[in-house]
């Protein structure tokens, strides 16, 4: 292998990497540059006025946060349990191969299809109405494949020697999983789950049909209420507002808040990950 060719490939890969970082950097810079001047305490702590042209976005922040909490509460236990079943209990058969194929297929389904499913199943058939409950369940369905696939991978990465040792000491299968498989794979499970939850935070299509309110300047009282949500609010300001140009700074500020929210989630995940990595090294 000639060193010249090595160098070319090396720089090519480097350039591609820089290009990606620059695009992301530009997007973040653009949002911060235009959004920061409009961002203030009032903006995040007040109700919107005049159809969103003035005032803050408190209901949208609360709406998105409550959707996230609900989505996590539904999807995390379901996803982890499914992953444990697939990785630890299920025999490798044609049936489980089909389940895996279905999960991977579901991961690629466009989000608007989940929105339509949520509308048909949760909103209409189960009669939850356009509500936080319906929205959370729809978002949970959407991110379940991501959580299951990444959790299963994290569980499989735990060396089988730990399982054998635990079983050989007389632990039952569940004791073994609970004490010597799950704790070691938590950092991987959390990382994968946060990826899914970050996606849920930013999606518009699934909540459009199941929960999001166009303009609702008050906070929700129950899980059967509609709420405003940051991505949908952003969409409305950008495309549906009569004076879209005038509210441009508000759009940027809303985008910035959404960005910070997702960033905060990721940071939280990284800290949890570091914590478990330190606790269980192998």
């Amino acid at each position: 292998m000639s060193t010249g060719k090595e160098q070319v490939i090396y720089w090519l890969i480097r350039m591609v990497m820089y290009a990606i970082v620059m695009v992301i950097g530009y997007i973040i810079f653009d949002i911060v540059w235009h959004g920061l001047p409009a961002l203030s305490w009032d903006f995040i702590s007040q109700y919107p006025r005049k159809g969103g042209a003035e005032g803050g976005i408190l209901p949208a922040i609360v709406g998105t946060l409550s959707l996230l909490v609900g989505t996590i509460a539904v999807s995390l236990p379901l996803g982890i349990c499914s992953a444990i079943y697939l990785s630890e209990y299920a025999e490798q058969s044609r049936f489980t191969a089909m389940i895996r194929l279905a999960i991977i297929t579901l991961a690629g389904v466009p989000s608007i299809v989940y929105g339509l499913f949520g509308l048909g199943f949760f909103v209409l058939l189960l009669n939850f109405g356009t509500s936080i409950l319906a929205g959370c369940l729809t978002l949970a369905c959407m991110i379940l494949p991501t959580i299951i696939v990444s959790s299963e991978e994290a569980l499989r990465a735990v060396p089988s020697g730990y399982r054998d040792a635990s079983l050989a000491l007389g632990a039952t299968k569940w004791e073994t999983i609970r004490t010597n498989v799950l704790p070691y794979s938590l950092s991987g499970i959390i990382t994968g789950s946060i990826l899914g939850i970050g996606r849920a935070a930013g999606e518009t299509a699934p909540i459009l049909l199941t929960v999001a309110a166009f303009y609702l300047p008050r906070l929700p009282n129950s899980i059967f209420d509609q709420v405003m949500a940051l991505p949908y609010h952003l969409y409305i300001l950008a495309t549906q507002h009569p004076e879209a140009d005038k509210v441009l700074p508000l759009q940027y500020a809303t985008a910035l808040v959404l960005l910070l929210l997702v960033l905060g989630l990721s940071l939280g995940a990284i800290f949890i990950r570091i914590h478990f990595r330190k606790k269980y090294r192998w």
């Binding site: 025999e91 490798q92 060396p159 020697g161 730990y162 399982r163 054998d164 040792a165 635990s166 079983l167 050989a168 000491l169 007389g170 632990a171 039952t172 004791e175 004490t179 010597n180 070691y184 269980y280 090294r281 192998w282």
Partner: protein, 261 residues
């Protein structure tokens, strides 16, 4: 093949197998193995790779159950009890029959938590009692002096040989009668290997030890009885001295003199 006179009159046959056949799916791995393993002695299983000696060892604590598609025919008795009866509780069995694996596999937890793991899952919560068990087990496995000042540190910080002795301590902590060892020293340096062998020598009076080994010198050094396996069959089982000086079977002789395997 095994005459009762093989063992001294005062030995109990702790493990007894009758016409054991074992299958991985459609592939038969063990053929018609009938064998008595004496109590409070060291019995070594030798034979070339793939001869079924590890599979046979893992029958005694039903570890093969964890592999999908395996099937056993015949009888396996431990202290007279058929361990493959449906009514037999595998958790109880594994408390009685401990196992040490080829690759040392301490949990990525503290040294203390590793040894206390077994007693804890069997319901011991009292801290003093646990501390006592941990100390005793580590003493028995000749590791106590090296680790007594750092019981709370991660077990993965120990050397390979120390890790394997920790695994032995962890197995002893649940109070087994039988100790199965699957090539416990094959991944260790010579010095650590000697320590493990010395340890087996110290444990031989209190435990029934069955050890699988690739190393024939090791079998000769540490075992009272040796069984030679070849292609899933038990070829010869006799006192170690006899096997290594006057083997009855030609195959055994060829193997121990290094003509194959």
């Amino acid at each position: 093949m095994v005459e009762t006179s093989l063992f001294p009159a005062d030995t109990d046959h702790v493990i007894t197998t009758r016409q054991v056949n074992f299958f991985y799916g459609a592939v038969q791995a063990l053929f018609d193995i009938t064998m008595d393993i004496p109590g409070r002695r060291v019995t070594a299983f030798i034979g070339p790779s793939g001869c079924g000696k590890s599979t046979f060892l893992r029958i005694f604590n039903r570890m093969n159950d964890t592999i999908a598609g395996t099937r056993l025919e015949g009888e396996v008795l431990i202290n007279g009890e058929d361990i493959y009866q449906k009514s037999n509780n595998v958790v109880h069995l594994r408390r009685k029959v401990g196992m040490v694996f080829q690759k040392s596999n301490p949990f990525p937890k503290s040294i203390f938590d590793n040894v206390a793991y077994g007693p804890r899952i069997h319901g011991i919560k009292d801290k003093q009692q646990l501390a006592g068990i941990v100390e005793q087990s580590l003493m028995r496995s000749a590791l106590w002096d090296e680790v007594k000042d750092r019981l709370e540190t991660n077990a993965l910080g120990l050397s390979g040989g120390q890790q394997q002795r920790l695994c032995i301590a962890r197995a002893l902590a649940v109070g087994p009668e039988i100790l199965l060892m699957d090539e416990p020293a094959s991944a260790l340096d010579p010095k650590s290997t000697i320590r493990i062998e010395d340890l087996i020598g110290e444990l031989r009076n209190d435990y029934t030890i069955v050890i699988v080994t690739h190393n024939m010198q090791q079998a000769a050094r540490i075992s009272d009885y040796t069984a030679f396996f070849y292609e899933g069959r038990l070829v010869e089982f006799n006192a170690t001295k006899k096997i290594f000086t006057k083997p009855r079977e030609k195959q055994t002789e060829d193997y121990i003199t290094g003509r194959f395997g």
